[in-house]
């Protein structure tokens, strides 16, 4: 394919499949965001009282019944789906339906809308911890004299207490694996594992795959739940969580770009978006929600293997934004809103704000940020995909959601104080993400005219 035709291979978003503490699909998310509600609530799946935080924007059992989401003949497979896989599978089903695509997963035996070999799948995923109850109950007969673990007995008998497919519940690529099987996506498929940036990188990879002609459409996004013992512990070790004791106010605890912020609150969720060539969408009469025009990724020069040290990262994050604007052939002045990571983790917020200042200068104080963390938490590998869903919906609705918690963001040079939802004229929306490990990515979405 020549460079000219590559540029002509425009990509649009034809389906949004967010999953978060507001539920499945764009409608509950958008309603919750615009009404200024928050899905942050006490963790009830286990007793969190021994952790620094006791709250998260969790998905309630009644919001996600995986058996009702998958095709009937796939229900058996739900037994080997970790929480992260369930979220991805639910998100994919939601996106496929929203895009009015027929796949093997929506109607077995009916011709699919797009030939399976032309459909790719790129999903960001995190490290999925084993279920503690399952692991511990399997190990009960394998105690050493001091009450610890006895590998000898485990090798002889204990491991047989685990289901044979145990490992497959926890491989990060199982999100994409189940999704590709359910919807019969036979094109290029990948699993990106770069923390909060994973979703944005997945969308960038979908763009690259579509532009080079290897697929006409991709299921693209990310999903994760860190609301687990290991998830909370690792985030605590990384100094990323705001302290919220039992009965504390979780919403007030996460304050993106607020000088007094102390950390973030986790969420469960993510999103899958249907990214598709303009021609494919046009030919099948699909409604384009937004155009995906630009993407770039960079690596920050300083890494935070332990704790968060992004003191020197602003230039690198800004370089990713510059790259995405260049890819989109869009000027910074044409960006009308930004969906940043906006975690409330002080050093990360400072690095993000400094990067945005490098690109937008003084205008940044008048450029609305869409900060999602006080409402849906930070959803790990799902975070930037969820952000992309919201960005597309903002463009489609020409509206900005409400913001919570933050006061005095002007001190950090940004505009993100709490306020109600409002209508807005939005030509382009920028999505930025920076993750633990130093990866950074930016996406530019354009209004469909």
């Amino acid at each position: 394919m020549s460079k000219t035709s590559k540029q002509h291979r425009r990509i649009v978003i034809t389906g949004l499949g967010p999953v978060c503490g507001f539920g499945i699909g764009i409608d509950p998310l958008w309603a919750g965001l615009c009404a200024g509600e928050s899905a942050i609530r006490p963790i009830t799946a286990f007793d969190p009282s021994g952790f620094i935080t006791t709250v998260a924007a969790t998905i309630l059992p009644e919001q996600l019944d995986i058996r009702s989401i998958v095709p009937k003949n796939y229900r058996k497979a739900t037994k080997v789906m970790a929480r992260d896989i369930e979220i991805a599978v639910a998100a994919a089903a939601s996106a496929v339906n929203a895009a009015a695509l027929t796949t093997r997963g929506t109607a077995e035996g009916v011709a699919p809308t797009i030939p399976p070999e032309r459909v790719g799948c790129h999903i960001g995923a995190g490290l999925i911890p084993a279920d503690s109850d399952e692991l511990a109950s399997a190990m009960l007969t394998c105690r050493s004299a001091d009450g610890g673990f006895d590998p000898g007995e485990w090798g002889r008998t204990g491991m047989n207490n685990l289901t044979p497919l145990w490992l497959l519940k926890y491989l990060p690529n199982m999100l994409a694996c189940h999704v590709t099987i359910i919807h019969d996506c036979q094109g290029p498929s990948n699993t990106l594992t770069c923390a909060e940036v994973s979703g944005a990188l997945s969308m960038g990879e979908s763009m690259r795959v579509i532009r080079r002609g290897d697929a006409d459409a991709c299921l693209s996004g990310g999903a994760e739940s860190k609301v687990s013992y290991m998830g909370l512990l690792r985030q605590t070790f990384a100094n990323r969580l705001a302290a919220v004791a039992t009965g504390g106010d979780g919403v007030a605890a996460v304050r993106p770009f607020d000088a007094s912020a102390t950390g973030t609150v986790l969420g469960e969720g993510g999103g899958i978006l249907i990214t598709e060539t303009f021609d494919s969408a046009h030919a099948r009469g699909a409604r384009a929600i937004a155009e995906l025009t630009g993407f770039a990724a960079r690596q920050c020069s300083c890494i935070d293997t332990v704790g968060v040290d992004l003191s020197d990262a602003a230039q690198d994050i800004a370089s990713a934004i510059e790259g995405a604007l260049h890819d989109a052939q869009t000027q910074a002045s044409e960006i009308d809103a930004i969906v940043p990571l906006g975690s409330g983790i002080p050093t990360v917020d400072q690095a993000e704000a400094a990067a945005l200042r490098l690109i937008f200068g003084e205008r940044l104080l008048r450029l609305p940020l869409v900060t999602l963390a006080p409402q849906v938490g930070i959803c790990g590998a799902g975070a930037s995909a969820l952000a992309a869903c919201v960005a597309a919906q903002c463009l489609s609705e020409q509206r900005l959601p409400a913001r919570l918690s933050t006061a005095g963001s002007a001190a950090m040079g940004v505009e993100s104080d709490a306020r109600a939802s409002c209508s807005a004229t939005l030509r382009n929306v920028l999505v930025t993400s920076t993750g633990m490990g130093g990866q950074s990515a930016a996406l530019v979405l354009r209004r469909i005219s």
Partner: protein
Amino acid sequence: MSARSERSPSERIVVSGMGWVTPLGHDLETVWSALMRGASGMAPITRFDARTFPTTFAAEVKDFDVNPLLKDPRVHVTAGINAQFALGAAAQAWKQAGLDVKPARNMRRVGIYLGAGEGVIDTPNYLAANLKAWDATTGKTDGAKWAELGHALMQAAREIEQEPNMPLAHIAREFGARGPAYNCLTACAASTQALGEATSILRGGEADVMIAGGAHTMIHVLGVTGFNRLTALSTSKGDPSKASCPFDLQRGGFVMGEGAGMVILETLEHARARGATPLAELIGFGSSADSYRITDIEPTGRGAAAAMLQALAQAGIDARARRSDGRPFVDYISAHGTGTKENDSIETLAVKRVFGELAKEIPMSSVKSMLGHLIAAAGAVEFITCVMAIHRGMLPPTINYTTPDPECDLDYVANTPRAAKVQTCLSNSFGFGGQNDTVCVTAFES
């Protein structure tokens, strides 16, 4: 992607450096000469006491110290074994590419694409926390107790180093790469996919140089447990060095390996501008999903064939055609060749599906017979063996091949290396979950 014949120097992607850390050594020459001897890296597991496990052996990396290869080892003091393998392989590749003396023109155009696995879990402490927090009266884990034990027993650095993007972060820090950075984790296909997508990033003009490859080890209690429960591993009770026997009728599963393979990929234009020596050219990449079952490979080899065909199409090679001298255009296939019943017969079927009657004329071997299965790192290591085969005119063997399997009826370069004129190779990697990736590499010609 542009057809090969139309590619400009900015779209031609060359290999300018390679490095690996494997169970048979930690530098190009040592490992290559071991492969040429048909050596085996397998031995009883030493990383934990596996004597009672169904599988008691693996191919471990031995006596590897990354520190002499690093600019300042203190920067990487927390690096897990996975990241150490990655750094070691990348340092070799960076040096061979001459990037320390003939630097890249812009570090923001030096990217990284790894297919690295998760770090090694802190098994004793992690399992002790789970076990001691168990509440027998409720039949569930006591969350508060778990939290207390978790904070007390586990260590921050050790936990954070388990994130799969940490090898990437360490490499970026060591070499100052600030371009597009990705880590993918598609099980056993990961690092082949990383090489392919890195090539795509270069060809699309997003970077000048990519450090690409993979690193992984799953030789730990829960890794061996997981694969034993899946009955994917060889449980041979005999000599470990005979346990990995891909394509043989007696094959009974794969043998776990560990390590890393890294290559420097760059545009020919950039390599020329800084006076680097191209070692080979990566001319094709194909990727597909089986979309079949989580446990089984699609039985007709559809997905594997699709990946090979796509790689060949991108390389401008007609699988069914012959050169003017009658030889097929592909001289060697580095098989995924895990040594499981299912993989080896379906891979054979897929190769026949792609090459038709030419399939029997194309030698295809599995270095997993010697190195074991390096999981996420396997593809990159096998890609390097292809480049070495091109340079040395030698094909690595499939060792332990004694009993032909009627379902595996190709030329597997049985037991001894073979001299051959090698210009173009395919390298296959197929992951658990149905991920198929193939890259095509050829001798560099200006």
